[in-house]
């Protein structure tokens, strides 16, 4: 049965190949059905894997991939609790988003190719989480980067979308360099990139070993790129140029969580390097707060959600950094539910308004888009961390571990939660409450078709009840998800010598503080945007200093442009004009000219004069004999 699990990635791959090859010859409905069916089969297999999973890992050998002297790598899949959870998330949420896309992309001319690309992405993501070695993970890593590029720039006729796609790919590349260096060092240190070889061997290393620290830091650089942390996060807001299902699938639920998966998988290595853990947590919490401050003033519905994603990813890294591995994976799961729901809901609003994305032109959509409103509300409650929704349990477990490890991180985390609640409810209120601020004559807001609303409903249900698998002991629960993931993280936990959990009382107290603070910021948002009916100022008005900074994303893009892009462009121009055109072309031309010149000289030997030839012969003879003598 487990052997069949090896087929899980290949159904989406088959979907990609078949739909891709038959593109225009396949009717739209058939392509959509086929793609969704592939995902459904994969989901079914993932469920059966989940049921049958045992504590220890099962490795499925597929084929030997590289065999070069002492270096060998094989294509093997690893099934253990961690990968089975990710399998469920990827195929489950992916399936729902495929269904959603049937309605959303219905009128698009490149409809079939979209489904092919989606299937391709799912394939690579599955390879990423199923791979049993870092090398195979890297294959999936690169592959999802490629799919992301294809899907962000899907409407390629618009040049700014292409630039956004390029930006995403290039920033990912920068991170990938770190990842690759990390893998190389892994090879040098352990002789292989297989998990089965590395993790047992790693147990023998000293905590704080410098090689392990370097490796983990380099791997984390890759995670920074892929999961949009500071400083490589600016591609994610720009990636909103892609269709909304893409934003939901790739940039909320799955691809950006690849970094989390990688760090979680390398748990034992990180446990051996406290410095790296601290760096991970630090970058995570700083990103969480920083992105939240930017989200406070954004006016594009998708941009708010994008910065929210960056912020939530920061929380996940914070969790990993303080040793709460299963809490972070739990948050990945709940985040997939409510963030995908938020994006799909936003897509429904955009679809219903015929393409409008600016929240200043929305309002009062509660009555017109009821299902969208209810599901969006549930998701917003979840992300803000209100009990008993899913986000509460996962986020609070992370914050509890943060408190046990570093009080300052906890404080920052709580501040971030406050801001999260504020900007999410601001988004909700400005979009759905009040009166409609758009042009009634041009736009007729309407509810979306059922192919789009049914996934919304399913995800809303999951966002509501999804938290109950992780209810901590202090509230009387059994924390099933931690127990499920325990075999995977147990070696790492042992190395870290976890501080004994604080008593239930203090944990409940922490939770209470967080909830109270969050409720306060929701009330503040209500006050501003519903009672006072405040609307963000239109484009071009002068803003107060802090708001201006936040609205222009702290000018980070402009800084990068000036510091990095412009010098690189200048160097490139220099190399093209001077080195390439003058020097290299000059050398090539000079070779030609030299040959011409030499042959011009040689020409004079052919005088046609027999006399001269005879003389040359005699002298040649004399020379030959002479040199033979020597």
């Amino acid at each position: 049965m487990m052997q069949l699990a090896a087929l899980i990635p290949f159904f989406p791959l088959a979907g990609f190949i078949i739909i891709g090859l038959l593109n225009k010859r396949m009717p739209k409905n058939m392509a959509a059905m086929f793609a969704c069916a592939m995902l459904l089969i994969s989901f079914g297999l993932s469920v059966s894997v989940f049921m049958n999973i045992s504590g220890h890992a099962t490795e499925i050998q597929l084929f030997s991939w590289i065999n070069a002297g002492t270096f060998s790598a094989s294509f093997n899949f690893l099934l253990d609790p961690l990968s089975s959870i990710f399998l469920l998330i990827i195929t489950g949420v992916g399936f729902l988003i495929h269904i959603y896309s049937i309605g959303y992309m219905h009128d698009d001319e490149k409809h079939n190719i979209f489904f092919a690309y989606l299937n391709l992405f799912i394939f690579f993501m599955l390879v990423l989480v199923l791979g049993s070695s870092y090398l195979l993970m890297f294959v999936g890593w690169e592959g999802v980067g490629l799919s992301s590029y294809l899907l962000i720039g899907f409407w390629f006729k618009n040049n700014s979308y292409n630039n956004a796609a390029k930006k995403a790919f290039i920033m990912n590349r920068i991170g990938d360099l770190g990842f690759l260096l990390g893998i190389i060092l892994l090879f040098i240190t352990f002789g292989s990139s297989d998990y089965a070889t590395i993790f047992p061997k790693a147990q023998g290393f000293m905590t704080g070993d410098s090689m392990i620290t370097t490796i983990t830091l380099l791997l984390f650089v890759g995670a920074i790129g892929k999961s949009a942390q500071i400083p490589l996060y600016t591609w994610l807001p720009d990636a909103m140029a892609g269709p909304t299902p893409v934003s939901a699938l790739i940039h909320a639920a799955t691809m950006v969580t690849a970094g989390i998966y990688m760090v979680a998988r390398s748990g034992i290595l990180y446990a051996l390097a406290p410095v790296s853990m601290y760096v991970v947590a630090l970058i995570g919490v700083v990103t969480a707060v920083f992105a939240a401050t930017i989200a406070l003033t954004q006016n594009d519905i998708k941009k708010v959600l994008a910065y929210s994603t960056v912020s939530q990813l920061g929380y996940m890294f914070l969790g990993l950094g303080v040793g709460a591995f299963s809490a972070s994976v739990f948050h990945v799961m709940t985040h997939a539910f409510f963030k995908a729901l938020l994006f799909l809901g936003a897509g429904s609003v955009i679809h219903g308004l015929g393409g409008e994305q600016d929240i200043r032109n929305m309002g009062g959509l509660r009555k017109k888009l009821p299902i969208t409103f209810i599901t969006f509300l549930l998701a917003t409650l979840a992300i803000s961390g209100i009990p008993p929704f899913s986000g509460f349990f996962s986020k609070d477990e992370i914050l509890a571990h943060a408190f046990a490890s570093n009080k300052i991180f906890w404080v920052l985390g709580v501040i971030g939660s406050m801001m999260t609640a504020f900007y999410m409810f601001r988004l909700l209120f400005l979009t759905f409450y009040g009166t409609y601020r758009g042009d009634e004559h041009k736009v007729h807001p309407h509810e979306s078709p059922s192919s789009m609303t049914v996934p919304l409903i399913i995800l809303a249900i999951l966002s509501t009840i999804g938290g109950f698998v992780g209810v901590p002991e202090s509230l009387g629960g059994t924390s099933q998800i931690s127990k499920f993931l325990d075999p995977v993280f147990q070696p790492a936990q042992a190395k870290m010598m976890m501080i004994e959990n604080s008593s239930s009382i203090s944990e409940i107290a922490l939770m209470g503080i967080t909830v109270a603070v969050v409720l306060a910021s929701i009330l503040l948002a209500w006050y501003f945007y519903v009672s006072r009916k405040r609307v963000p100022s239109p484009e071009g008005t002068k803003l107060p200093v802090l708001t201006n900074l936040s609205y222009h994303k702290y000018y980070v893009d402009e800084i990068y442009n000036a510091l990095i892009t412009k010098p690189l462009d200048a160097i490139s121009l220099f190399l093209k004009n001077i080195v390439d055109n003058k020097l290299i072309d000059g050398i090539v031309n000079a070779t030609g000219k030299l040959t011409e010149w030499l042959s011009g000289l040689m020409r004079f030997v052919q005088t046609g004069n027999v006399d001269f030839y005879l003389l040359a012969m005699v002298i040649g003879m004399a020379c030959i004999i002479f040199f033979k003598l020597m």
């Binding site: 005699v618 003879m621 004399a622 004999i625 003598l629």
Partner: protein
């Protein structure tokens, strides 16, 4: 005694050869060349290569030189029509030849002591030569017959006047 013979014959050979090159009249050149061949034939006799001496005279002096003479008469060459080279080129020619001579002599000087085998008086006699020719060198002999055929055909074809 032999040494004197050798010296005289050698001297004549060299002198005639020089005159071949230096006279202006082509007819005189041919005649001097005949004289050279005679001198060399004499050298052959000194070496007990009697057959070759005679053959040299018959073939070279008798046939080939006569052919040359025919052609010169045919083309009606004489002293006035003879083209000359510039002094510079003549000098270069002499220097080149001299260079070659120096190098040759130099190379031969350094040669090892050339071994000399005990003398047998049969070498060079026609009977012995015939035996060697028809036993060991039969193939080259036959092939040279083909060579003559080719030369004959070639010469006849080349000499024909174009039939308009």
């Amino acid at each position: 005694m032999t040494v004197y013979l050798f010296a005289i014959l050698g001297f004549f050979a060299i002198l005639s050869a020089l005159m071949v090159v230096l006279t202006k009249n082509p007819i005189h050149s041919i005649l001097y060349l005949v004289l050279t061949f005679f001198a060399i034939a004499g050298e052959y006799v000194l070496l007990n290569a009697q057959f070759l001496a005679i053959v040299n005279i018959i073939v070279y002096a008798g046939a080939i030189m006569v052919l040359f003479l025919f052609v010169v008469m045919l083309l009606n060459l004489n002293e006035e029509t003879e083209p000359h080279k510039s002094v510079l080129r003549k000098l270069i020619a002499v220097i080149a030849a001299g260079l070659l001579l120096v190098v040759l002599v130099g190379s031969l000087k350094g040669a090892d002591n050339m071994s000399i085998k005990p003398f047998s008086q049969n070498t060079g006699l026609i009977e012995n030569l015939g035996k060697v020719l028809f036993n060991d060198f039969l193939l080259p002999f036959e092939v040279s017959a083909v060579l003559f055929l080719a030369a004959m055909v070639g010469a006849v074809m080349l000499g024909k006047k174009d039939i308009k």
